[in-house]
Point group: C2
Chain length 219, copies 2
């Protein structure tokens, strides 16, 4: 919340208590405000005007930093994918202690991200930002996917060469499963379906069964 404005400190950060004409860090302040709004009212409830208000600037100011509403949303999503990638990478931990366990950790991390950062997750997957008009978004998404792909590759290679399933397909399956569970049962808290078990357990069971079917049972 303390965006600091070029290092000078003062009593800013209290909503409209801004003194200088220039904000100093409006771009990030807007993204942060957008995140709060999306978390509170869903991706459709986010408005440029309210983000501007919450950053203490006029409704026109955001357009110095973003072409339009979609561009702001796309930037939120891009930032989300970057954090997502880092989060998954940490969970994967270069395949330690073993690729089987590590892949399970990636799955849990996927759901944990959807649950603890529902605003990012919404912007990334549910805001309907057209990927064709925001190629940087697609690339950021691909980088996240690459982690899962890498994990599947490494796990697949624990099998003898002629029994290895195609890693790309595995990755697509596990990604789809995780995304399905996340968007049906594990995003935020509003308007979601109830479940007789935790989403994490549901995903873990599915992955175990799936890997069993590939001949990749627990080592």
């Amino acid at each position: 919340m303390s965006w600091s404005r070029h290092g000078r400190d003062g009593d800013e950060g209290r909503g409209k208590g801004r003194r200088s004409y220039h904000h100093g860090n409006l771009r990030e302040a807007l993204i942060e405000a957008a995140l709060d709004l999306i978390a509170a009212k869903g991706p459709a409830g986010f408005t440029v005007a309210e983000a501007a208000r919450s950053a203490g600037v006029s409704p026109a100011a955001p357009y110095r930093h973003f072409r339009d509403r979609d561009a702001l949303m796309a930037d939120v999503a891009r930032q989300g994918f970057e954090r997502f990638e880092a989060f998954l990478k940490t969970a994967w931990a270069d395949g330690r202690p073993d690729s089987f366990t590590a892949l399970g950790n990636v799955g849990r991390a996927y759901l944990a991200f959807a649950r603890t950062e529902p605003a990012y997750y919404s912007a990334m997957f549910e805001a309907g930002v057209p990927l064709d008009e925001h190629p940087e978004l697609r690339e950021a998404g691909d980088r996240s996917f690459a982690i899962v792909r890498k994990a599947c590759e490494q796990l697949s290679e624990t099998l003898p060469k002629d029994e290895r399933p195609p890693a790309l397909m595995m990755a697509l399956h596990i990604w789809s499963l995780s995304h399905g569970i996340a968007s049906l049962f594990a995003r935020g808290d509003a308007g979601l379906r109830k479940l007789p078990m935790s989403p994490e357990d549901l995903l873990e069971a599915a992955v175990l069964i799936y890997l069993q079917g590939l001949g990749l049972g627990r080592p």
Copy 2:
């Protein structure tokens, strides 16, 4: 498109060429207009005003039939779930020729619906209609899910009693997988990710591997 207005015919249906004061079938005309708009511009692009315009009535008229924008969207989604249920039920075909094959047909039907009715699918899963405020929506969704559950039950029962996986869990897994693939790769045509295989093949492979893992390989 020819809503017929109490059976009388004339040259209506040409946009604003309506003669009588009362529309006669506004409710359904609005739902149809909403579907077209959602299909064309996504769930966020749909506006009550434009739906009213396309039905040839004033912007206030829709509020005689729907409490607000969300209520209209929820009704579209409800209708979508009803068609979805019927569609899945047909694909299931009471488990013929055998429950294994029939479950595969249900999966294909799931994706086919998402692809051929992207507007319904959007309204059902991506519009962010709060389920708590529209219980009839949740119930309609549950009825669709029940088909998948039934299919899993019947397939599970082809195994000896002590080897049967819990049908509810199976159904959740397969539903999540289908939904994940549908929303990542198989809805409409805009802004989606490319795939090295058809979504149908991707899903079929996943389900086969999953069932294999449960000890439910092809009979």
